[in-house]
């Protein structure tokens, strides 16, 4: 019973961590993208002839913004769906004793 509780605790915290990783990553990118797209439209509205150049720059920045969110997303999904390193540490300890 004790072990089950311990495992449940680790799993619960892992679920929260995964949720935070994915959710905060999504939120960060959403804000970043919003600001980026807004500024892009503003720039194009001011100087429409620059729009091809600005578009390239915007996509460049979009990729930069996206990268950290993607890394965070991958970490979260790995925690959730793959072998949980924290849980396996606990299990190792339990079976080792």
């Amino acid at each position: 019973m004790d072990i089950a509780q311990m495992i449940a605790g680790v799993q619960g915290f892992t679920a929260i961590a995964g949720g935070l990783l994915i959710g905060l990553a999504a939120m960060g990118t959403a804000i970043g993208f919003g600001v980026l797209g807004g500024k892009f439209l503003e720039g194009v509205a001011r100087q429409p002839e620059l729009s091809p150049m600005l578009m390239v720059r915007m996509f460049l920045m979009a990729g930069l913004v996206d990268a950290f969110a993607a890394i965070s997303l991958a970490m979260g999904l790995l925690l959730m769906f793959s072998k949980n390193p924290f849980l396996s540490a606990v299990l190792e300890h339990v079976t080792g004793q």
Partner: protein, 264 residues
């Protein structure tokens, strides 16, 4: 996905997260710590690199001056647009940088494109040959992205010294950005600044491709009615991510090198 009944979800994910590795200590398949070759990464990346070079070589040998064929058109478009991009941000002799940028862009693009193949296609084929694990996307392997960015890093240092000379680089390292009286901090800043560049290049590409692959794996574990719409949506989104990441890798290489070449 026919053996979904016999293995669990996390086993399926882990199976797809493992490279086909060669242990250099023993000469056997398996993980050997640092001395490990990821055979699948090497195989796929070399095949794609040869494929890209072969097409470009073939086209360049039979260029026609009149109305170009379809492939020649595509090749000319790629060469021209990359050359223009380099010209915009890099001032100086671009006879090495422009071809390198083109190679980086197309090679990374092709390797990223392996993400859009059916997830189990290459692993199934290679498991028939005898490889226990196979990861089809070379750029989702940190060793490849880090290797590419280390090459960029070496070029960065080379261009720094070539364009400015040893003493100018030394002076710049010691006196910027805070002036001579903060010399150690300046040197420390410079070292961090230079080392962060290849790290961020490699981790960005790796992280994006890894996340994309992972989401594809998770989609593949769903029942068919979930796979179809989500797979289409994520594939469409991922086409964008793939090309943007390849473009960013190229663009940042160019920007870093032009920064290295110009005095601060």
């Amino acid at each position: 996905m026919s053996d979904m009944n016999t293995i669990t979800e996390s086993e399926y994910v882990q199976h797809h997260m493992q490279n086909w590795q060669l242990n250099l200590h023993t000469g056997m398949f398996g993980n050997g710590g640092f001395w490990t070759l990821d055979l699948d990464t090497i195989l796929v990346s070399v095949v794609l690199g040869v494929f890209f070079l072969a097409i470009f070589c073939w086209v360049s040998r039979r260029v026609v001056t009149g109305v170009p064929g379809r492939i020649q058109n595509a090749v000319e478009l790629a060469v021209d647009s990359v050359d223009n991009t380099v010209k915009e941000s890099f001032h100086g002799d671009r006879s090495t940088l422009a071809p390198m940028a083109l190679t980086i862009f197309l090679w990374v693009l092709l390797m990223n494109f392996m993400d859009l193949l059916p997830l189990d296609l290459l692993p199934r084929i290679f498991s028939a040959v005898g490889a226990p694990h196979f990861r089809a996307v070379p750029t989702a392997d940190l060793s490849l992205t880090l290797a590419m960015s280390l090459v960029v890093f070496a070029l960065l240092i080379f261009y720094n010294f070539k364009a400015k000379g040893f003493f100018a680089v030394a002076k710049e390292t010691m006196s910027r950005p805070f002036g001579w009286w903060m010399l150690p901090i300046n040197v420390l800043f410079r070292i961090i600044d230079e080392c962060v560049k290849p790290m961020s290049l490699a981790l960005r590409l790796f992280g994006n491709m890894f996340a994309g692959e992972l989401v594809f794996i998770l989609i593949a574990m769903m029942p068919w009615w979930g796979q179809a719409p989500l797979g289409v949506v994520w594939t469409l989104f991922h086409v964008l991510v793939i090309s943007i990441q390849a473009f960013i890798f190229m663009m940042l290489t160019i920007v870093y090198l032009s920064m290295a070449q110009e005095a601060h």
